[in-house]
Structures are given as structure tokens and as C-alpha cells.
Amino acid sequence: MKTDLPQGTLDLLILKIVALGPVHGYAIAQRLQQVSRDVVQVPQGSLYPALHRLENRGLLVADWKDTDRGREAKFYRLTRKGRAQLETESASWQRLSQAVGLILKLSEGAE
């Protein structure tokens, strides 16, 4: 089964992946697919507007470096601001999903 990504969560996922270390756009797309075991479906191209938006907001910075295969690629890193943003957003995401989970359990019990 494939699910559409909830609004705003793409940014969170990107920040989380970039937090693991400098990475280029293609690798982010690969990792998104692998980690979510293909549950999360993102058209590969739509990653880039999101990346550029985060870059322009100062949450990410990018440098051009060579890959292992010797091609030049744009590697994104998290800024301090980006890390702070990641922490607040993942915290609020967890609060939200816990709350949603609780509500779902409740309604089951009521039946």
C-alpha cells in the first residue's frame, strides 16, 4: 500500500535525512524510498523545490563536491538553525502522532 505524504512532513523527513551527514539530492530520494520501505511515495523531482526552499530559509546549506564516482554534485548540510528546526518539528510531530494514536484507541474502546 502506498500513502500520500501529509502536508509539511516532507520538510521534516528531508531535515532528518540531511542531519545524518552531507548528502546530495539523489541520495536523499533513495534514502526516503528505502527507509520508508516504499510506503511514502514522493515524485523524485518534487524533492528539489522543497530542498531549495529549505536552503533559502537558511535551514540547509549546500556545497559542490565530488561523489565517490567522481562526479560533481550538490551536497546539503544542516545549519544550526536547521537542527533547531528539526528538533522542534520532530517533537511536535511526536506529540501529534501520540495524540492521534490515543484518540484512535479511544474510539475503538467505545465501540
Binding site: H24, G25, Y26, A29, P43, Q44, G45, S46, Y48, P49, H52, R53, E55, N56, W64, R69, R71, E72, A73, K74
Partner: protein, 881 residues
Amino acid sequence: MSWWSRVWHRRRLEHQLHKELQFHVDQYTADLIDRGLDPIEAERRARLEFGGVEQIKEQCRDARGTRWFDDLVLDVRYTLRSLRKRAGFAAVAIGTVALGVGAATVMFTVVNGVLLKPLAYADPSRLVALHEETAYSTQFGNTWAFAYPNYLDCRSDVRALALTAWRVGGGIVSGSGDPEYAPGFQISSNLFAVLGVRLDRGRAFLDEEDRPGGAPVAIISHRLWQRRYAAHPGIIGERLVLDGTSYSIVGVTPDGFQLAGDGDVFTPLGQAPPAQLRNRGLHPGIRVWGRLQVDASLRDAQAQLTVVGRRLAEQYRDSNERRTFVASPLRPDVGNVSSTLWLLFGAVFLVLLIACANVASLLLARAVARHRELTLRAALGAGRGRLFRQCFTESAMLAVIGGALGVLLAAVAVQPFIALWPGELPRAEQVQLDWHVLLFALVLSLVSSVLFGLAPALRAPARQLEHVLRSSGRTVRGSSRALHNAFVVSEVALAIVLLVSAGALGRTLIRLSSLDPGVNRQNVLVTRMALSPATLIDPARTRATWNDVLERARHVPGVQAAAIVDTVPMRPGNNQLGYWTSGNLPPSNQQPIALATSVSKEYAKVMGLSLSAGRFFDEHDGPTSIPVVIIDDVLARTAFSDANPVGRKMWIPNLGEGPFEIVGVVGHVRHWGLASDDQSTVRAQIYYPFAQLPDRFVRRWSELMSIAVRTSVPPLNVVETLRHELRGSTGDQVLYEVRTLDQLASNSLARARFLLMLFGVFAGVALGLACIGIYGVLSFLTNERVPEIGARMAIGANAGQVLRLVVGQSLRVIATGLAAGTLAALAAGRLLEQQIDGMRATEPSTLGAMIAVLVAAAMLATYIPARRASRLDVMTALRQD
């Protein structure tokens, strides 16, 4: 990366974006090949899963936040290209904007310099002006200049203010070089410190010099130093002889320093005659200014002034009862110039509006012509907002280019404008193009661009694209025809306002010029004269000197008669005295007021006064004979109604105890000038012989006297001989402010004449612009109707009918404009009536004449397109679609 660097590095960012996306696709393709896919299939899948590259690029560009700027650059380039292609259109539009903005900018530059700029002192917003105010009013109102002791008390007791004082001084500068009259001021020692002005060289007065018996010291202006002392570097310590007293120069003011006008010599106020400075009941023209102390507000200052005022009112009941002190922010004193400037500003604004209407109709015509192009763009996906912005970019560019040219125009035109100003424009030195003016021109241009860009932009297509694309695009929709007509209506209306105003001003000027001033203005020379200071000490000697002066003047070749007089008709300056016709005098503030003029016996002959009863003064009216006066017919009518006043008595308490016998009645003289006399509150006139002036007044009067001579030759020809003859035995008597009576009469109309000239120019420009506008709109509308006209002609309409059709269409629009404009013109007439002396309500004949002018011009503009339409070849016209 900041917004600016993102704009700046646009090209590099584009390149990187392409490289980044390409890397992704390539890498994915390589991975798919690694997984065993065929290379061609691998690339196809990679591209498919990646999505539309161009859309993604667009989204990435949006994320940059510089999109609107990129669009702007595109629009500007596009506009420049299209303007270059239609150079004629561009030139007319830009020229019209330049004219409108240029005229408005000239006016604003002057308004800004004269009315809006703060005074040229340090931190002028902290400066205040003080005056005395009484709870009661006399005929002179209830505000007063300061009494010196009151000033001293305020200065020591009001903590919130640093106070300083000055009054008009000046006099005859002699010593080295020719004696000359120099304007000047008497000032407190702290004046320059309070104003925050640093002297160019030397020092300000010391406190111990600012009191009776202080060392005679003077400060001179930069101007006088340059002119009279040839900028001599060792000027400090040099001697300056002012009114016969020798002063030591201690300082020079900075270039351009002004205190209520130019002053060349400054002396300590505290050295003025003690009789004037010690008397709390005297208000010898002393002005008090102050600077708010740090932390103090105007309200604090006022509160403290009120306390001091109350204390002094109790302490000195005779002089200070019901009298208090009032502070107000110090503003430049520019007299009645401001109403003239605002009137002109209003007129210029109308011209600008006409210019905007013109450009708007041009742009609208173009928008109609480009309708299909715009529709095509909309069909290709351009949003309505985007098209709207493109239209505005175009009008804004026209406005900015036109505005820039307008500023250049203004830069060239401001100085000639000031030179044309009647008399001296106050604060003219402040009139410069500065950033206020540039900002004004920019805002004006942008506002205009909104005015004339709105109509075309609102036409940006949104609906029924297909329908428009399929149609021929040659029909003008009703709404845009109505808009076009609205432009013509407003242009005609605005033009008629200016035309009627100019016409009414012209009528007024003609009427005023033909008024009888009450004097014979031909061949009379009037000049102020300063006697040698030595002769002023003794009244008998002063009188003898005046007699000698008149005797010498009479013998100058070309002079027929000579007289002395204190206040001259149509020249600023007057003496208003209360009078009564019986010995039972009411209190002074209930006495009627008349203009009193002190003259010598030949005055009536010099001025050409008309004697209607009795006699003029003669040599028998001396200090020992009975006091006599002559009145004018206005006073005769108001005070004595029908009875013959000759032989009757009148009382003038400020001139002497006893009654004065009326020995003659003369015609009224328009003392306040041709334009203003009828509206003045004080018009009645009394003449009294200088020979009978009480001794105590002789000195003061002699300081103010002018001499007037009637000549048989052009009056200015006798000036040099007169000047030479009247130098006196010590050579220090001077003539200054030399004028002919004719000049004074004509100057009294200068303001009306100046307004007429400019309103005339503006009206001419307005008429021209309106005609161009009518011509443009009509050509366009007629052009759009070519197929229709062709059809009409094909079914039998002849040339005359077509002509009537087109002219009729134009006439209806012009008539609407005339109706609206006439109402506005009558309103404008009321405004002029209030602002300009001697102006009367707009006569119907003026209105009619000006409407005729406009209709004639409009018909000319209509005729050309109408005639062209009537000569259409039917076949070509029909084939055009």
C-alpha cells in the same frame, strides 16, 4: 544566500539548478543500468519517475523568492523594445508627462524652498517666537512686540527657554567710500548663540557691550564685507561709521545669514536710547525669539511664560494689566506669498491632470489595438495579475522617463521663474532642487502612472478568450468608447477652468489698470532720504536742512516742484491715527482711524492731487499759526456726510492737543495700491503740514522722510544730479529706494499681472494638450469605425453626412465637458475672488468668450479626423475587415 545575491547571481543559480537536476537523472539512469536495465529503457524510466524538468525548475525558481523581480526585468525589456518600435507614440506620451511633471516640479521646488523648508538655523524645530498679548483689542489688534523690560524679565525667569531679542536697525554707512544706506538689525549679545550660528570671523557681542554705555561695536554681513571692504582680511578692529557714530567691527556673519531678511550691519540692542529700553509701556518693535532648553517642551515654556506674565501684571498694573506672553514655533515670515504659490500650484496640478488624461487615452487606444496580443498571452497561461503588472510596468516606465525629463526641465526653469517673480521672492535663496524635490517628482510620476495606466490595465483580458481570438479584433467595445469619451470630457472641463480663470484675471487686470490712483503717476520721482546725522540733533536745524534740501531740489534742471512726505502712495509703510470731529473724545480704541501723511507745501502739485474744496497748505502754515489739516473725500463723506467740511475742526490726539482746522478737501489717493485699496479697512486720509509737526516728533519723522519731485523730463534722468545736489555740506546725505510713481503704481498690480501671465501660459498649455487629446481620441474612434462608415457610404450616405456624424459625436462629448467645466470654473472663480485683491465674480461675458475659444480649438481638432472619414474610399473601407 541573501535575496540580493540571489537576484545578482541569477545566471549562476540557473546553471547550478540545471546541473543538479541533470545529476539526479544521470545517477538514477546509471543505477537502473546497474540493476540490469537496457540503457535506453533506463533513461526513459529515470526521466518518467523524475517528473517534468521544466515544471520542477519553475517551482525551484519560485522557492528563490526573486520571481517578481525577474518578471519585472522581462517586462522592462519588453516595454523598451515596444516603445522603440513605436517611437512617435513614445515621444508624445513621454513629452506630455515631462511637461506636466516638469511644471509641477518647478512649482513644488518653489513651494518647498519658500514655504516648507525650515529656517536655516541650527535645529530650527526647537526655536520659538514670543509676543505679548492683551485680553483686550485696540484698532491694532491684541498682539504686540515686546517691551524691553518685559523681555529682560522673561529672559531671567523662564527656565525652559534661552531668549534673545532683536529689532530692525540699519542706517547710513559712511566713512571710507561713498555713504550708502545699509539695512541692519539691533541684536542682543546672545542672538547668534541662541540661533546656533557661527560667525564667519571675529566674535559675537559681549554681555557688557549689550547695555547703555557699552563700547561701540558692530558686526557686519559677509555681503557688506565683500562689497564695501573688498573682503579685507584684517577687517576685525576696522571702523564703521553708522548714522554718524563710529563703531569698531568685531565680527562678520556667515555668507547668506538672514534675520527676517538681509541685514548688513548689526549693533547691540542694549545700546539703544535708554528712554526706549526702560519704559515698560513702550513697544519699540522688539522681537523676541528663543530656543527650548534640552528636555523642555513648548508647553513647559508657555506655562512658565504665563506665570511671569501674571506676576508682572500684578507688579506693573499701568503697563501690564491683562497682558501676557505667548510662545509659538518660529516659522519663516514670507508675508502673503503663500496664497499666490498655492494658487499656482493648483493651476499646475490641473495641467498635470490634463497631461495624465492625454497619456491615458493614448495608452488605452494602444491597449485596444493590442487586445488580441494580450488575449493570446492569457490563452497561453499568463495570469490576469501578470498581464495587469505588465501593463503597469509600461505606464510606470513612461512616467519615470517622462518624470526624469520633467526634473531636468524643472532644473532649467526654476531660476527664470524666480527672476519673473514680482518684487522680491522671500527665501529665494532656499529654492533649490534637493532630495525632497526629487522624491516629490518620483512620487508624482508614479501616481500619474497609476492614473493613466489604470484604464488600460483593467482591460487585461480574462474571460471569453476564445471569442476574442476568433473575432477580428477591430470592434471597440462600448466600455472603452465610454472611457475614451470620459477622458475628453475631463480634459475639456479642466481646460475650461484654466481658461476662464485666466480670462477673469485678465479682465481684472484691465479694470484695475484703468483705475485712477488719485495721483498723476507720470513724471514723479520718489526716493527715501537720510539727512546728515549731525543735523538731526536739533529740530530747528533739521527743519532748516529740509528747507535747504527742497530749495536745492527745485533748482535741479528738469525738476518742476519738490516736496517731502513720510508715507508714499502705493509704497509699503503708513501711519494710522485715530481722529474725532468734536472735542468730546471717546477712548482711543473707539476712535475711527485714518491714514495720516505729513507733507510739505508743494506736495499737491508734485502728486497732482485734485483739490475739490478749500486750499492746499502754503508758506503761512507754520509752527506759530493755527494747526491745519487737509482731508480726502472719503473722510469728508464718512465724518461730515454732506456738509462742507472746510472750516470745521477735528481732533487728532496723537498729533497734538488742540483742534485742527480743515482747510481743504482733496480726491482720495489709492494708498494701498490699485488692486488693494478698495478692500482696505482704513482708507480715509488726513494730510498735515510737516512745518507744524511738534518738535518732539521731528527727529523720528526725519528718519522716515522721502522726497518727491515732479519733473518735466523722464524722472530717472534727474536722479544723479539730484543725488549730487543733495549730498549736503558734509557729503553724507543719501538717497535710497529710488522709484518713479509709475513704477509704484505698476508694482501694486505686479501680483495680479504675474498670476495672469502664468495662468495664461498654463491655460494655453492646457488648451493645446486638450486639443491633442481630442484629436487623438477622435482619430482613434473614427478609425475603429471605418468599416461602419464604409457600410453607411455604401448604402448611400454622402460625405457631408459622414462629416456630421463624426463632428456630432465629438460635439456631444465636448458639450458634456463644457457643462462640468463651467461649474468647476465658477467655483475656481470664487477661490480667486477670495485670494486676489480687486478680483470680481466671473462675468458671463468672460465665460462665454473662453467657451468660444475652447469650442473653436476643439472643432479644429475634430475637423481633421472627420474630414478624413468623409473622404474614405468605400471599397477600401469595406475590405479592411
